[in-house]
Each structure stands twice: as structure tokens, then as C-alpha cells.
Amino acid sequence: MKLLEYQAKEVLASLGIAIPPGMVARTPEEAAQAFEKLGPIAVKAQVPVGGRGKAGGIKLAKSADEARHAAEQIIGMDIKGFKVPLVYCEAALDIGREIYLGFTVDRDARANILMLSAKGGMEIEQVAEESPDSIARLYPNPWRGPLDFELTQLVYDAELADIARPLSSLIRKLYRAIPDYDALTAEINPLVVTRSGDVIAGDAKLEIDDNAMWRHKHLEERYGSVLEGDPYEVEAKKRHLTYVSLDGDIGIIGNGAGLCMGTLDLVQRAGGKPANFCDIGGGAKAEVVENALAVILMNPKVKGVLINVFGGITRGDEVARGVVTARDNLNMKLPLVVRMSGTNEEEGREILEQHGIEPGVSGWEAAKKIVELTKAGATA
């Protein structure tokens, strides 16, 4: 779950980190009111994706009218596929310097990594490429958290010794986002040092592990419904499905990320273009398959569907029953190729055949078949 800036900042504030005064505005009028309260503000689009500045999603406002106009322009605009649901109006900071600070998971190290750089404010990826030594790194032990001497070393490595004390204290607070909120990324860029020496979070990115949301229901309740992205993805999420929208006309359902990706590869190789795909995961029940098919079909661009399931924990008979029920319930008329194998595959194929669905052979054969049928349907 990627939190929006204002949400991430609320969480940081709850960890004791200083944030600028700010107010959420869902309407231009609220943005104008924010100006009345806060004075000169930045009106910032709230989307869970980078680059909003370049996309025109951040505007400064020096009057209530400017704030109103900025919000009018920003709310509802599309930034990288996300419709901006609201803006965050934040008081301008008296910036002395800008620092980069971020935790994330380093999958190669199988550990959390903490990165600190005096070169904040710009894209950290660029800094990392151009002057990797200017980013100090620390892998805190996951049970112990960062130790005092480790933070001291980090701060000296980053050549930020002059603000060692407030910085170490802030890092320790930000670290709490990992054990306390299952953060996969907790980033403050820029971390602003004001001219009066205060250390304040200028921006905030926080991604919470979806697998751990059961430990953080309050976050889901508080923030889960705010974001408006791809409507199909929103719908899929409501149904607890892993779904991705693409550009083509063939819907794909598979189980396991590897097989889904492999099926995408096969369909493209066969000359088709996937419209979307849905990973029904391991242990998928009939109901899950039906849900997946329903979501796949919500997209009117879909002209044919390929279901590619190789069963381990997923049982063929359940998949088959799900496919049949889903097709019937959804009154689906589009071409449908089902390729199924693995646990209880005979039972599954039998069920499909009994209901007039012919199972495919290999993944490659099935991919060629759905591409063929879809093209035939499109030209028909």
C-alpha cells in the first residue's frame, strides 16, 4: 500500500518527526481556506507516484485566489494513470539545505538499507549514479535496529556531522516505520534543514507491505479508500486479486507470477497483445477464479480470454468449476481458451468438457489459439 504524501506525513508525525503545517483540500474552496490559515502555500497533487512536479502537480500560491485556481487545475488531473483525488496545501519552508534520507528493502542483501546523503532535493537515483560515495549506507540489524554508533558512523560518512544529534534522533524515529508499520520504503526527500536549524520532512514516501496489512488495519481503514487509480485495478483490489491493466485485447488469467509473466511472453510471441492479466495465486478457489474473470471482462477492450493454470496447490477441479460458473454467471460469449494441468487436472478437464469448454494443450499452443480466435473475432 503506497500512501499519499499527506498520509505518509501523518504517519511520520505520529512517529515524532516534524512536518510542515498543512491541510488536505478536496475542493478549490478548501484550498483557499487553507491559504487563509497557513499563508503562502504549495498546492500539491496527491498521487502515489513520482514526477508530479514535472507533470504540473505542484503549484505555489501566494493568495487565496491563487490557491483556489491551483486546486481547480490539479484536482482531477491525470498523473501517470492516477486521477488526482485531492491536494495537500502545505506552508512554505524557510529552506537552509536539503538532505536525502530513506529506508528501503535491499532484496539482494535480504535486509533493510538506510541511505543518507547531503545531496538531497534532487533525484536520488541520479546522485547514486553520478556520485555513489555521496550516499552513506547502513544495513541495520532487523532485531536491534540501528545502533547509536552505527548512526554516528553513517552521519559522519554522509558528512553531516554538524547536525549529527537531531539527524540521528530523526533517523531513529523514521526507522520505527519498519518494525511498527511494516514499511518497505520510508523516504524523506528532501529532508529540510531550515535556516533556523530545524529538521523537517519536506516530502514523504511510505509504502506498507500489502502482506502485512492485517497488522495495520487502521491504516487501511483510514487511508485505503482515498486513492483513485485505474478503476479495474481498484475493483480487483476490492476483490483481493492481483491485477494489472495493459494495452491490448486479450485477457489473461494465470496462477503464480512466473506463469502469468510467461503467458504474457507467449501471447506477445504469438502476435497477440494482452489487455490485462490477473494472478489468482496459489490455493485459488472457484470463487476466486470467477472474481478474476469478472474483473478481466470489465475492460471492454478484452476480445478473448486465455486462462493458463498449472496446479500445485490450486486444484484443477476447482479451477474448472470456477471457470464454468463464471462464464455462465457472466454470460460470457467471447473466445475462451483454458489450459490447465497439475493437481486434479483430469477432474478439471472433465468438468470443462462436460460444460462445453475445450481445454488447451501446452501454454504455447493455447497462446497461439487465443490469438487466432481473438483476431478472427475482431475481424468477424
Partner: protein, 286 residues
Amino acid sequence: MSILLDRDTKVIVQGITGREGGFHTEQMQSLGTNVVGGTSPGKGGTTHLGVPVFNTVADAVQETGATATGIFVPAPFAADAIMEAAAAGITLIVCITEGIPIQDMIRVKDFLRGYPQARLIGANCPGLITPGQAKIGIIPQRITSSGHVGLVSRSGTLTYEVASALSAAGMGQSTIVGIGGDPVLGLTFRDVVELFEKDHDTTHLVLIGEIGGSDEEHAAELLAKGTRLKAVAFISGRTAPEGKRMGHAGAIISGNRGTAKSKEEAFHKAGVQVAETTDDIVGMLS
């Protein structure tokens, strides 16, 4: 004629009384796996599927001498189950459970440093099978056959595809290891390749990778140093859209590392053949 697991390995199942645990224990038993017991707190002293059930892994190890475990408990309890197994002296821990929080697994990985003899496979993996002898996990034995191909994969379902094709072509497998697709996992490609390298009944190697991370590259580096195995690699996700979430975090593309291209190039550089589709693997291996 195998790595990690054979017919003599004493195996327990954590979560044996659960629906999935029970179903797959029966499958494991039908292959001949030496399942000596299971655990289910509160059900110690009972019998399930013909084997004794214990409250804790420590009890199970003490009573049965088990050295391996398959974990089928729900995600919120899985990290603890792995640590429990390691602390009890289990040396092969296979965690099938998917959806374990990443921070849990990071803590588990650190915990396991205290138990260097404990090997973890997974989590979120199909487990491993030594065809004709034993399995821990959910790989359908019907599609496997005994032989000399070592198969290691990050993807469950693609593993089945390939095993199935190999068996159909008469190329049996020594051991099949599904290492799982999570970003923080136990044995890596490199670890498993090292084991196959040392297993003189394994003559061929199939490695099925996927975009994300650098584990395939690390295995390629090892193979580049020279291998006696005839090897083929396949990477799935080459047409996956960049930066899109692909179902497990293992498929998130980060920077310019972990792309299908970088992985395929690493294998090319190591002199390892790279298959374009899983259907090509059998032909390239012969």
C-alpha cells in the same frame, strides 16, 4: 541421485492438521516420503494421517529424529514456524506459505544466521521433490520422473511446465527445487546450483528465473567459473511492463538491475544457453 532430500529423510509437517497441510501430506506420503510426524499446537498426542502430532517442533524432533520440515501454516504464523524449526535443530526447512510480510522474513534471515546448519527453502515456494523418492511441498509428483536433470526455479507453475516437458521427453530429474519468488527468501539459485554441482548424479541443469533482483546474475557468475553441468536458463517476464506490480514483489523492476535482459546476458556471458520459451528447454538440453 539427489540433493537435500531422499527417501530416508525424516520429514515432519508443520500445520499437518490444516486443510492444505493435510492434503499435501497425503500427497507426500503417496510418493513414499518418510513423513514421521507433524505439529499442531494443542493437538499433541493425537494421530493424523497415520503419524503422531506434536505441540511443538522440539517435541517432534525429540520423539521422531526428524531433520526436515514442510511448513503449511497461515502467513501470520509462518515466520515463527521457520524459526521454531531451526531452533529445534531441523536442517531442511521448506516453507510453502505465501504472503509472509517481508519484514518478518528479514528478521527470520537474521535469526537463521545463528543456525548455520539450517537450510531454508522459500517461503512462497512449491518446495522440492526428488522424483521416485520423496517430496516436501506441493510439486505434483505425477509430472516428474527420476533421472539426472537438476531443476531449480523461482516460479511454481513454470517449474511444473518444465518438469512435465522433461518427463515427457524421457529426461528424468535428480531433484527439483522451487526456491520461491519472494524478495527475501532462503536458498538462492547460486546455493542450489552449488549443491547440484557437487551431486555427481546430476549431469544437467535447468534454471528458471524471473525479472527482479540479482539472484540469476549471481548464479551465472558461479557458472561462469566453469561447470560440469550441461545447463539451460530461462527468464520469464521479458515482455512485462516496467515498474508494474506483477503479483509478488519479486517481479518489481528496480533500476536497471534485474531486467530479463541483464539476466539473459549474464547467462550468455557464462556460456549458459538461454531458452526463449519453456517449450524450447528440452531441445536445448539434449
